[in-house]
């Protein structure tokens, strides 16, 4: 059983119909008054057609809350399919339903922390970085410069930031995990593609550092009613939407993850 103290677990959740403030290929900002307080690493389900008039795509899309400022909720993403493409081309004022906050987010680090974000996984880490109080290192990687979501925001934080891109268009050329060392006493927090998480988890295990990873899976509901979002752990499955998306790296069956 997961500890019941994980932030966000007992948080109030709600469905709020927000309005688009602005939207572009990598970001969506909504005016969403009434959306309850959330913890870093929690997510929301975004229904781009709140009246269910056009039911293709039918299901809402899970998105980490990148940042909240007042009533403005911000999401960061890459247009990979229909949902994210629509998300990036909404006109200001359009309605979007937001269900959340959902899932168990990150526990705030108690000491030094290393945050590793790959691609769209970066979006789950910004508020954790912002709210951390101990010594902080952040390593961000993406395929190319444009996909280094929110880089400016991380730059403005008091942290040791390293950046890499696979095509070398920004920062070091290579993968975010290349040459990544874990320093003694650091806790590790990671979000990104499974391959990256696997590599980070292996490094953490070697360094005996606690390691929390935020995963993705296909989700229909986001709050425990469809049972669709399982990920394999040592003793069975976890529902990623209610028991995750943040899990301890050590409990996952990495070999069964895609």
């Amino acid at each position: 059983m997961r500890p019941e103290t994980r932030p966000g677990h007992d948080a109030e959740r709600r469905r709020v119909v927000g309005r688009v403030l602005d939207s572009g290929p990598f970001a969506l900002r909504l005016e969403a008054p009434g959306f309850p307080a959330h913890a870093p690493g929690q997510f929301a389900m975004l229904q781009l057609d709140p009246g269910l008039e056009r039911v293709d795509p039918l299901l809402p899309r899970p998105m980490a809350v990148y940042r909240r400022e007042g009533d403005a909720l911000e999401f960061r993403f890459r247009p990979v399919g229909r949902g994210t493409r629509i998300m990036g081309s909404l006109a200001p004022g359009e309605a979007v339903a937001v269900v959340g906050p959902l899932g168990r987010g990150f526990r705030l680090p108690e000491g030094a922390a290393l945050l590793v974000g790959g691609g769209t996984g970066i979006a789950s880490l910004y508020e954790l970085a912002r709210d951390s109080s101990g010594p902080l290192r952040v390593a961000l990687g993406a395929a190319t410069q444009a996909e280094l979501l929110g880089l400016e925001d991380f730059r403005a934080l008091d942290c040791e930031l390293s950046v890499s891109t696979e095509d070398g268009s920004a920062g070091r050329k290579g993968r975010v995990t290349d040459g990544l060392g874990i320093r003694p006493g650091e806790s590790v927090y990671a979000c990104g593609p499974n391959g990256m998480l696997r590599a980070v988890a292996a490094l953490a295990e070697e360094a005996r550092a606690p390691c929390s990873v935020s995963l993705e899976s296909t989700m229909a509901c986001g709050f425990g009613i469809c049972l669709g979002c399982v990920v394999p752990v040592r003793d069975g499955f976890r529902y990623l939407c209610t028991q995750g998306p943040v899990l301890d790296a050590g409990e996952l069956c990495w070999e069964d993850l895609p």
């Binding site: 709600r14 296909t218 229909a220 709050f223 009613i225 469809c226 399982v230 499955f237």
Partner: protein, 303 residues
């Protein structure tokens, strides 16, 4: 004028015709942030087996055009944990129907017995129609003789109203409905998901780990509506209509075709408040059309 939304399903009095479908509203508590269960007709909880059951490995779900595919495979906490932990957590005035499942008639019957002994249940729905469980399930709902046998096993196991949830994967839904009537079921619920398959051309594999799955959502609504209509023509049992319902207009269509109540399934994922919105929309519809009681709509299709 406040229209009378009340209806009755197989002897179960319902505040209104809008229920939540099995497997799409968890054990009810998950819905509480979005829906006051007492405001709905009722809740059909996730299908229960005698023992706790783990489902299929992921991926278990996939989106399809205007629908979704699932192969959860009836993962559930088991009937005992349900009665001990889940049932007591529900608001006392919610109308609750339990759903039961087993791989053979005797196992179904034992779940029915335990449910029968419990307090706070308004009825039992037998899930005779899971489209992706390999043993049992689909056979009961697809073969008249097995369906008979199943109902015959469950009927004596409970005095609660007994509803049979039918599979759409049959040549004649009328025939299956008649079997239910003949065996003394109190009502029928249709449809469960339609057996289906999606393939990922990039990996050249089925999208779901299980291969086959069940298709649900708006895509199947016209199929469900046809089957409800055909079943209503064939039997005089009360019918609970299910399949792709996402709006009050959809609900009205099912009532007109002969359903006395409806269940909202996949739409709960797309909008967890869908069921309350449908209930409110039904009231609006009645007001707009000068209908005093929603029950006037049942079977009132003009053909």
């Amino acid at each position: 004028m406040t229209p009378d939304l009340s209806t009755e399903l197989a002897g179960i009095p319902l505040r209104n015709p809008v229920l939540l479908a099995s497997g799409t509203a968890g054990y009810g508590t998950e819905m509480l942030p979005f829906v006051q269960l007492e405001q709905l007709g009722g809740l059909v909880a996730k299908s229960l087996t005698l023992e706790p059951r783990t489902g299929n490995p992921p991926p278990r779900i996939a989106e399809t055009p205007a629908g979704m595919l699932n192969a959860i495979s009836l993962e559930n906490v088991g009937v005992d944990a349900f009665l001990a932990d889940k049932l007591p957590a529900l608001p006392p005035h919610a109308t609750l129907i339990a759903s039961c499942f087993g791989t053979e008639p005797g196992l179904y019957a034992r779940v029915c017995e335990r449910l029968d002994a419990a307090d706070g249940l308004a009825g039992i729905e037998i899930n005779a129609s899971c489209p992706h469980v390999k043993s049992g399930g689909i056979e009961f709902g697809q073969d008249p003789a097995s369906l008979s046998e199943l109902i015959r096993a469950c009927r004596p196991a409970t005095e609660l109203p007994l509803l049979v949830k039918l599979s759409p994967n049959v040549t004649s839904i009328a025939e299956m409905a008649r079997v239910c009537e003949g065996e003394g079921a109190d009502g029928i619920c249709l449809i469960n998901a339609v057996q289906a398959l999606m393939v990922d051309p990039e990996t050249r594999r089925p999208v779901l780990a299980n291969g086959l799955g069940g298709l649900s959502g708006p895509a199947i609504l016209p199929i469900a509506l046809r089957m409800v209509y055909q079943a209503a023509q064939a039997v005089s049992l009360p019918i609970c209509g299910i399949g792709g319902i996402r709006s009050a207009a959809d609900a009205v269509a099912f009532l007109l075709c002969g359903a006395t109540a409806i269940q909202v399934g996949t739409a709960n994922y797309a909008n967890p408040s869908a069921a309350v919105e449908i209930r409110d929309g039904l009231a609006d519809y009645c007001r707009r059309h000068g209908i005093a009681a929603v029950s006037e709509l049942i079977g009132a299709l003009r053909v």
